[in-house]
């Protein structure tokens, strides 16, 4: 168990059995030899996330999604809920210990991310084990792989497991056991660049990963492709989309001219190799209709990938955001590699805005301090706000703020208000010498007039808010009313009962016996001392039941008891008359025992009082035993 504030790091938590299809064969050797049992063969599949990531798996991202901040000294990371997830699959059979997940951080244009592509299991083991029919695909050139993707030697250091104490965090991150898998990226974000982080599957890509080279202690570029290269590719891509009948549309041509001008401004001449190279690595498709003639080979190559949903956007001729550029336009010669993306998010690295710079830059003071004069500090990515034309609020030394208020007569004016949060400590009202603590009963009691003649509505507002909040919660209203009924009213009645008298004494006794059911107790006590028949004196007596119309069959309409009963139950009237004539003895009751003979206290009961019960019980036991015997098949 991890103690509070600590956490434990583990190299890896590997599942006992990696995902995949297995054949289980059971054979049995018998003794003595010669006997044999057929071997049993069973097929089983261990499944897990493969082409998509379940929504509950990613617990947190760093840098935060869509965040802008100074992230240039930290490696991006994703935290996964299942501790074994990075080791549940194999890159290829030769590498049993390497994780199959890698977090790749790509700047704009360094890849193309397309969503909702059909799953392609060519070359992968167990092609039928798939958790989804569609996947997100990241298409990158070999150049990007060799520069940005992790090498096999890096992979063991990019995944680890943390065991943390869940009670230490406010939100617990939605995890259940405190074991989390963390996948790191190997690229340090650089200021001014927009990145997309992709959690990719390396399954089957063991041969694509770069080899290690001798490291250097510094780096120069911040992106694989220059901004101009990416922009030029984006323009070409737009042209291919507007390409009709073998000619470019006028708009596209003029746009291309503009963008080439933009490119040549941004880059020294000769630095950009615009596409148009003769041979694309991916051959154009053979099936083409007669209407389209091939133009740029790269355009055709892009055309065969058309119809995909482009993630990101190409706006104008000079800005590309996200991974939206078809890699064919950037490097037509390159071999393209497609990776399955399980999760992706984007962020922008800026100069400021990490936790340290944010909390360091907080403007501190007591509540009531106005922000420093001048325009409010602008945050990166937002335009500076216009200077406020509102007059500053008037705040007194006591923390009161002057606010606009409309008086009850409808006149607009000003009033003082101070909320519960004050810059100075306020002395609390305490009970006076006689122990009386003033209690407000209405909001108007708390209205005050300030020294300048304006009204101070602070406490009146508080009272009204409390009243409205209480009335908006039915359970609280019910609780308070119940409290009043159970608490106040008995107390009030007890106050009355301090007057001596016999009725009061009886009531006090009832009250003391059972305070909780006081109202019932009072009623019983009242009736007991007044006499049941005198209850009418307290007021009109409500009939116990509303009398129905006369049906002409009851005793009231003249029939005798035997005929009414016989008629009602469909019995023979003669038998009913006989039973009624015989009295209670016929029903099995002992007529000699009357209610008055029964002792009133249990302690006064003797063995004789139970004789009838005992006889009845033994008769019942006998009959039960007889029935049991019958059920058991015995003859009686």
């Amino acid at each position: 168990m991890v103690s509070q504030g600590d956490f434990i790091l583990h190299d890896a938590v590997r599942p006992a059995v990696p995902d995949g299809a297995y054949t289980l064969t059971v054979t049995q050797q018998l003794d003595p030899p010669g006997q044999s049992v057929d071997p049993l063969t069973k097929y089983l599949a261990v499944t897990g996330p493969r082409f998509t990531l379940p929504p509950d798996q990613p617990l947190s991202f760093f840098p935060p999604q869509n965040a802008t901040g100074a992230f240039s000294t930290r490696l991006p990371q994703i935290v996964l809920q299942r501790r074994t997830l990075p080791w549940e699959r194999l890159i290829d059979d030769g590498e049993p210990d390497l994780p199959w997940l890698a977090l790749v951080v790509l700047a704009d244009g360094e890849g193309q991310l397309t969503t909702g592509q059909p799953v392609d299991t060519t070359g992968l083991p167990d092609p039928d084990l798939r958790d989804s029919d569609t996947r997100d695909v990241l298409t990158v050139t070999e150049r990007v792989i060799s520069q940005v993707f992790p090498s096999k030697q890096d992979l063991p250091w990019l995944c680890h497991v943390r065991e943390v104490d869940l009670s230490d965090t406010e939100l617990a991150l939605g995890d259940d056991d405190g074991w989390l898998a963390v996948v790191l990226a190997n690229r340090l974000p650089q200021p001014g660049v927009h990145y997309t982080a992709c959690l990719v599957s390396l399954e089957g890509h063991g041969g694509d990963l770069p080899a290690t080279e001798p490291p250097v202690n510094f780096f120069t570029g911040t992106t694989v492709y220059t901004r101009a290269q990416v922009n030029a590719a984006a323009v070409l891509q737009r042209q291919s989309e507007t390409f009709v009948d073998g000619t470019f549309s006028e708009a596209a041509v003029s746009e291309a001219a503009v963008s080439e001008a933009a490119v040549s401004e941004a880059e020294p001449p000769g630095a950009v190799t615009l596409v148009g190279a003769p041979l694309p690595a991916t051959k154009p498709p053979v099936t083409r209709d007669a209407w389209s003639a091939p133009a740029l080979p790269g355009v055709v190559a892009a055309g065969q990938q058309a119809g995909t949903v482009v993630k990101g956007r190409v706006s104008g001729a000079t800005s590309v955001t996200g991974l939206s550029v078809n890699q064919v336009f950037i490097d037509p010669q390159a071999r393209l590699v497609q990776f399955t993306v399980l999760k992706h998010w984007s962020f922008t690295c800026g100069d400021g805005g990490d936790f340290e710079s944010l909390v360091r830059g907080l403007d501190d003071g007591m509540l009531g301090t106005l922000p420093p004069p001048g325009p409010p500090p602008t945050t990166p990515g937002t335009p500076p706000g216009a200077p406020s034309t509102r007059p500053d609020p008037v705040i007194t030394d006591t923390g009161h703020v002057q606010t606009a208020a409309v008086s009850r007569s409808g006149d607009p004016g000003q009033a003082w208000y101070r909320g519960p949060f004050t810059p100075r400590q306020i002395l609390r009202a305490e009970p006076d010498a006689t122990g009386v603590l003033p209690l407000l009963h209405a909001a108007d009691q708390a209205r005050r007039v300030g020294p300048d003649g304006l009204e101070d509505l602070s406490l009146a507002t508080a009272f009204e808010i409390g009243r409205l909040l209480a009335t908006s919660a039915p359970a609280v209203v019910a609780g308070l009313l119940g409290w009043r009924q159970d608490g106040y009213q008995p107390a009030r009645v007890r106050g009355i009962l301090t007057v001596p008298g016999s009725l009061q004494a009886r009531l006090r006794q009832v009250l003391d016996e059972n305070r909780a059911v006081f109202s019932a107790g009072v009623a019983a006590g009242m009736l007991g001392s007044l006499g049941a028949d005198s209850a009418a004196r307290l007021g009109p007596v409500r009939p116990l039941a509303k009398p129905g119309p006369d049906l002409g069959v009851g005793l009231a309409s003249g029939g005798d008891l035997a005929s009414v009963v016989a008629q009602g139950f469909g019995l023979d009237q003669g038998q009913v008359s006989a039973v009624l004539a015989a009295g209670p003895a016929a029903g099995g009751l002992d007529p000699s025992v009357t209610a008055s003979q029964l002792p009133s206290q249990l302690g006064e009961l003797g063995p004789a009082d139970f004789a009838a019960a005992r006889a009845g019980l033994s008769a019942r036991v006998t009959s039960l035993v007889a029935q049991a015997r019958l059920l058991a098949g015995e003859e009686p």
Partner: protein, 326 residues
């Protein structure tokens, strides 16, 4: 087999159940108020449910990227509770009863409000009321780092030391009122307040080399002693993949760490070296301790209020205090 329930069983269950039965409100419990009402009123005392524009009346009192400290006005919260209690008083008689009970009710709520927020690893402490203070933060640090730690201490504690449990003030309420607005209430007057980066998302990282080489960007890694984790003061340069845009060669980094500080070369030791500890911002006394006047600059000073025509009518406790301090 047919399952039967005998009268004996039923009686036994009923007898057992009796001890779990809820006592009628107003008696049998530990306090004067019914439990549900007491809990609700205690949370109300901590301004739970009070509209934000009544907490901070003007948006300029809490500008973006600011932190504001305050005292909780107990008269205000008492008035809030009085308003809620007035719902139950219907007749004059009820009001008289409520008035008689009110000191007791107030004391009971003073104890209950300290138990509103008691996380699993803390022991709630009740008792008579103390001064309640708090802070409001409006910042992107609140929205971007959702599990930020907020701690307040009664006495000064070392900035980088371990958590001092005895000096730490009980956190009575910690809530995000809006994605970027955080409210915290403390049980007592803090000497220092710590804001700390959430530990759940600790990252791996390096530091920029100072000065930077002319050829390009370079990073370095401050080393820690394996086993103890104390910083050695030495650094190793971070190796990068040649020709790549800021891609760290982690295998080479691990090898150079191993050469520099030794150890067993495990992944845990590598993580110990590369892990960046969470940043902790301390709000507390500084070398030049600012006077209260620097922390709070009202538009209308107490001197000016004294010149108002009806000043003698209402000398509130606050003004007395303000007078005492100035």
């Amino acid at each position: 087999m047919k399952v039967t329930l005998t009268a004996h069983d039923a009686l036994g269950v009923a007898w057992d159940a009796k001890q779990y039965m809820v006592q009628p409100s107003g008696q049998g419990g530990t306090g004067l108020l019914p439990d549900g009402v007491r809990d609700w009123l205690a949370a109300l005392r901590l301004t739970e449910g009070v509209p934000f524009q009544h907490l901070v009346v003007d948006d300029r009192l809490l500008p973006p990227e600011s932190i504001r400290f305050f005292y909780l006005d107990r008269n205000w919260t008492d008035a809030l509770v009085a308003g809620a209690l007035s719902v139950s008083a219907i007749t004059t008689d009820d009001r008289a009863q409520l008035q008689a009970l009110y000191p007791q009710v107030r004391d009971e709520l003073d104890a209950a409000e300290r138990l509103v927020r008691v996380p699993g690893n803390e022991v709630g402490v009740d008792g008579p009321a103390d001064v309640v203070t708090g802070l409001l933060i409006r910042s992107r640090a609140v929205s971007g780092w959702p599990a930020m730690h907020v701690r307040a201490y009664r006495t000064e504690v070392p900035d980088d030391g371990p958590d001092d449990e005895t000096s730490r003030l009980h956190l009575m309420r910690l809530e995000r009122l809006a994605p970027s607005v955080l409210l915290a209430l403390f049980d007592g007057v803090p000497a220092v307040v710590h804001l700390e980066e959430p530990r759940s998302g600790l990252q791996f990282g390096f530091e920029l080399t100072d000065p930077q080489p002319p050829a390009g960007l370079a990073y370095e890694l401050p080393l820690r002693t394996p086993g103890t984790g104390t910083e050695t003061g030495a650094t190793v340069p971070v190796p990068f993949r040649p020709g790549a845009p800021g891609v760290v060669d982690l295998a080479a980094l691990q090898a150079s760490i191993l050469r520099a500080v030794g150890g067993n070369g495990s992944g845990a030791e590598f993580a110990l070296e590369v892990l960046r500890f969470p940043y902790r911002q301390v709000f507390g006394p500084s070398e030049q301790d600012p006077s209260f006047d620097e922390l709070f600059q009202p538009q209308v000073g107490i001197e000016q209020i004294r010149t108002w025509p009806d000043y003698t009518i209402t000398v509130t406790a606050a003004e007395e205090q303000a007078e005492g301090e100035s």
